[in-house]
Every structure is written in C-alpha cells, then in structure tokens.
Amino acid sequence: MQRLLLLGLNHASAPLAVREKVTFAGDARDRAVDALRLQFPQAEIALLSTCNRVEIYAARETHGHPRAEEMIEFLANFHGIDAASFSPHLYQKTDTDVVAHLFTVASSLDSMVLGETQILGQVRDAYDAARERGATGALLNPLFQRALAAGKEVLSATAIGEGRVSVASVAVDYARRIFDSFSDKVVLSIGGGEMAALVLQSFAQLAPRRLLICNRSPERAAELALKFNGQAVPFENLSDHLTAADIVVSSTGASQPIITARQVAGLRKAMRYRPIFLIDIALPRDVEPGVGEIENVYLYNIDDLQQVVSGTMEQRKDAVEAARAIVTRQVDGFLAWHRAREMGPMIDRLSKRYHLLATEELARTLNKMPNIGDAEKAHLEELTRRIVNKLLHDPITMLRRSEGLHGTTSQYLHALERLFQLNPDGDGSDNADGEADLAQDA
C-alpha cells in the first residue's frame, strides 16, 4: 500500500534567511531529484522549489523509504548545512493532508499573494521535471495532474486572480490601463517616503526608459536612485522633470501642493498633450485636485487607491470561498479515486486468501469422505464459499465506509494488511475474483 509524505517549508513557516539556505536554484532541483531517486529507488519523488517554498513530495510503500528524517538528512547533506538550522521551520504532512496541501498550493491559496498565477506554472514545472526523470509514477502522476487541473479551474473560474491588494500594485494596475508599454516611458518620483519607495519599486519592475528621483534632499535622492537603478535629479528643476515624465509618484511632506493645475496646464503643450499619470500618495496632498480635470491627465490620490484596495479585498472574500470550494471538491474527487484504487486490490487479496483457506479445508474434509457424490460435493463447495463471503461482508462494508470514522481509510487498510497478513507478494491464490463473489452474495 502506498503512502504520501510531504516535507517542506514556506514563507509562513520560515523566514527568508532560512528559505534561501535550502532553496534549489538553477539545475539544483533536477540534480536533487536525481539524487533522491538514486537514494530511494522504490519511491516516487517530486520537488517543488520557489522563492517562497521548498517542498519534497514522496509516495512510498507503508514501511518504505524515504522517511521524514531521511528527507531532512538529504536536505542538509545536499546543501551542506546543519539540519538544526532549518528543521524547526519544517512542516510534515501525510496522505490526505498532502493531497489537500498540494491542491491548495497549486490554486495559489497558500501563496503570499492570493491569486498569483506564477505558482501554477511552478508546480507544473516541478512535476514535468520529476516526470521526465522517471521519478513519478502511479500515485504522484495523477496527484500532480489533478492538482494542476484544480489550480487551473480556480484561476479561470473564480475572480481570485483579479484586482490588486496593495496601493503600489493598484497604482501599477492603473498605469497598465493607460500605457501599453513602459520601455519608452519616464517615471518621476518626487519625495522619498516609505510608501513612495514601495510604489517606486513596483514601477521599477516595469523597466521604464528612465526613472527620475527628485527630492529636496540630494542624499536621499541619490540613495533611492542607487536602490532602484534610477537617476537623481534636482528638485529645483521640477517643471522640466514634469515635462519629461509620463508617470509621476509624489509623496513629499510639503504642507502646500507642489504641483498646481495652472502649472500642469502650462506644461501640456511642451508635453505634446500626451497622457500623464499622477499618483499623489502624500498627506496633505502634493497635487491640486484641479490637475485631474485636465484632458489626458489622470490623477489618483491615496484615497482613490485605497478605495480600490479595500473594494478588491471585499470582492476577494467571495472569490476565496469559491476557490476553496473548488479545491475541496477536487481533493474529494482525488481521494475517492485513490480509495478505490487502494481498496480494490486489498479487498481482492482478502477475499482470495480466505477462499483459498476454505478451499483447502474443504479438500481436507472431502478426503475423509471418499463416498460422497458430485452433487453433494458441489453443495459443500457452495456452502464454504457462501460462509466466507458472509463472514467478510461486514468488515468489507465497514471498510468502504471507513473514511472519517475513527481514522483515515489508509489507516484501516494498513490495519487490515497487518491483521490479515495481506502482503501482496505472499498471495498466490488464483481464485475467481473474490470481490465480485462477495458482491453477488451480499
């Protein structure tokens, strides 16, 4: 009987300093899968490594390898670090919990940013790499395939991937609704507050043509310019910078607006009337509200952006619930399939074993009754067959309904295997399908 095991850590269980120690960068993941495969040839292995998580998925026989401690040892040896430095941050899951976890991960419900789509590609990549190396098999193949299907369904059928959840991401979202590309755009940052730095970081990721940092303090401007690969420019020439800019992020501590409607209107001709996106995240405001009424000028202040953030969060509550419902349905579907897959052969072995015992005992008895006729012999054979089926009917029915009674189905199957010595290698019976017989007689 196969069991699932997961060992890993993620952004919730481990800080970045720990995660970066055990991450598998470049081709390290593929080498690790090969090494695990070599070390545990009987097991199925898959390794998911992203900037937010490192997880090893294994499917093995009940008393097979790898075990959790062996996986920890592997991680420590592979990275050449002390296991104590990361093991307190590890989580370990088995069977049903592994299934639920992987489906949740693939659906981005376990991600730092809910609804991000990158994780689905990363799970697919991890699975493909393991499959190409022959590390996956009868259990991990369907597990990953169904997890990917669940993730895809969640992202396409719910609104979980829509909207943004931070002021910076909302600002970028609006910028994308105005501009098609950013490689020819100029971003101007005025002021150097913490929020401005966050917004600037988001815009820097869009790789604009120029990133101008304008601050009353040249030192602070130079610091931010260095951080975001921008260019520090003097505050005194603000009008010139405004003329050059397509996107302006303003967050100074000024008590009066530093950008007025008259000023912008006067600059429009020099700007060739092209669209300009102004993000005013200062309190009090840096940009006069009248600026936003000028044609092709789009002005958003902190309230506008936060309103979208809170609205998005509200919208997402429903989406998260819908996504969880999809994950639950997909997990249940997989578990039902897995139960049927595990239970069928076990019941078959149980049935065959006891029919074999009954047949042997009957043969022994018949040897002591040499004068018995064929008709009576047939009646006795039928009698023993029916007795075995009646005896097995209740345990098998209970087994089929076992999930959630006093343990998982896997636990029941494991107990059955041990109690009745149903080792698949030890069953040489070639009786007719016992399960079919049971169904007929029950």
Partner: protein, 278 residues
Amino acid sequence: MPTTGQILLLILAILLFSTGGLLSLARTWWDRETLRIAAKACLWCGVAVSLGVLLWHMLSRPGGSWIPLEDNFEAFVWLAVLLTGFVLYVQRTRPLGGLDWFVMPIVILLLIAAGVLGKAKPQEYVGTTWYWIHLSTVLTGALAFAIAGATGAMYLQANRRLRSKSLPQGPKLGSLERLERITFTSVTLGFALLTIGLITGLVVLKARGQSRLGDNWFASPKVLLAFAAWVVYAIVLHAPINPSFRGRKVALLSIFGFVLMIGTLVAVNFVPAGGGAH
C-alpha cells in the same frame, strides 16, 4: 438578389453573432472558461455560415463574375465577415477584453443591412478594372474605419472608467495607448484606401459620363458623404502635427467618421440618384 434560403442563413449568422456577443458580455458577471469557448465557437460558426451564404449567393448568380463582390448583399456580408475575422485574430494573438462587445453590434447591423439593402440590383458598370479597384479599396477602407470606430468607442469607455476611479468592473478594455494606436493605424490605412476609392470612383463616373448620378454628381449625397468622411479622417490624421488633437478627440472623430462612412454605404440606397452602396 438573395434568395429566401440565403436570407434565412443570414438570420442564422445574425443569431450566432448575437449569441457570441451576449455570451462574451455575460462573462462580466459570470467569468467562466466555458463561456469564453462558447462565445468563440459562436463567432467561428457565424463566420462559417456567412461565408457559406456568400458562396451560395455567388454560385446562384446568373452570369456573375467569379469575385463574390458584385452587389450590396455581398459587400455587407464581406464587411461583417472580415470584421469578425479581425476580432478573432486579435483575441487569438493579443486579446483585447471587450472588443467583441463593441464590434458585434456593427457586424449585426451590417448583416441586417445586407438583408434589407441587398436586394438592389448589381451596378451596370460592374466588371471594369476601375470599378473593382474602387470597390475593393472603398470596402477595405470601410473595414478599417469600422475597426477605428469600435476601438474609438472602447477608448471612450476605458477613459470614462479611468476618470470615474471606481473599482474596475468587467474585463479590461486594453490600455488607452493601445486603443489609440489601433484607432490611428486603422484610420491611416482607411484614409489611404478611401482616397484611392474616391479617385477611382470619380474615374468610374467620368467613364460613364456621370449619367447615373446626374450632371451635378458632385452634389449627390453619396459623393458629399464620402467626401465629408474623408475630411473627418483627414482631421484625425492631423493629430501628430497638432498633438492637442489626440485622445478623446481622435476617438470621437473616428466614431463620427465611421457613421458618415456607413451613411455613404447605406443611406444613399434610398436616394434615387445614389444607385446602390457602390
């Protein structure tokens, strides 16, 4: 002239395009992958049915040319098919949310126009080289202007959404920059084709001795509307020289120009001197 069977097929195409547009619109409230696929399938089926009608119409025409572009019916159906083809191409290469909402009403109107106005008889000057150049450039130009009109309308809607600063509802309509670029490219292409179409149209008129439009051909609604559309698009193309003419103004003028263009193709059918959409 279309037969009853062809009209029925045309109605089927209209239903398919309408269903496709509605399914796409439904995704605003119920965003499901199945809806997207169903909407796309409806558009493909609509295109197939429309092409079938065109082929049938061409084959059933006694003594017609091999090019299925001989009367109003074929011209309008071609426009509808090419416009839908544009939607399907864009949605396949670089999707533009909501494009089908804005284009499908135009497609449906064109098909209705084909059914209603398609009964006009083919022109007497059909078959000359100048005529074919005139017809193909004017129709391709009309297609470009239809695209410009649709993306112009999308620009206005996207701009309105941005100005309202409300929580985005429904699919993204594409960035203003992209919509403006598509509008401008379409107008540039359409303007060049319309210019050729107008010149070759004059050549055709001259060759026919202006008999059909009369001696005052330059004052006929068809010529005046076509010229007005040409002037509007010339103003749109003026935007790079005078950048204040960009954004909303370009979008509004593109829509207005397209209305004039449709007027040229449709309204003149009701004017005796107009003599059909060509």
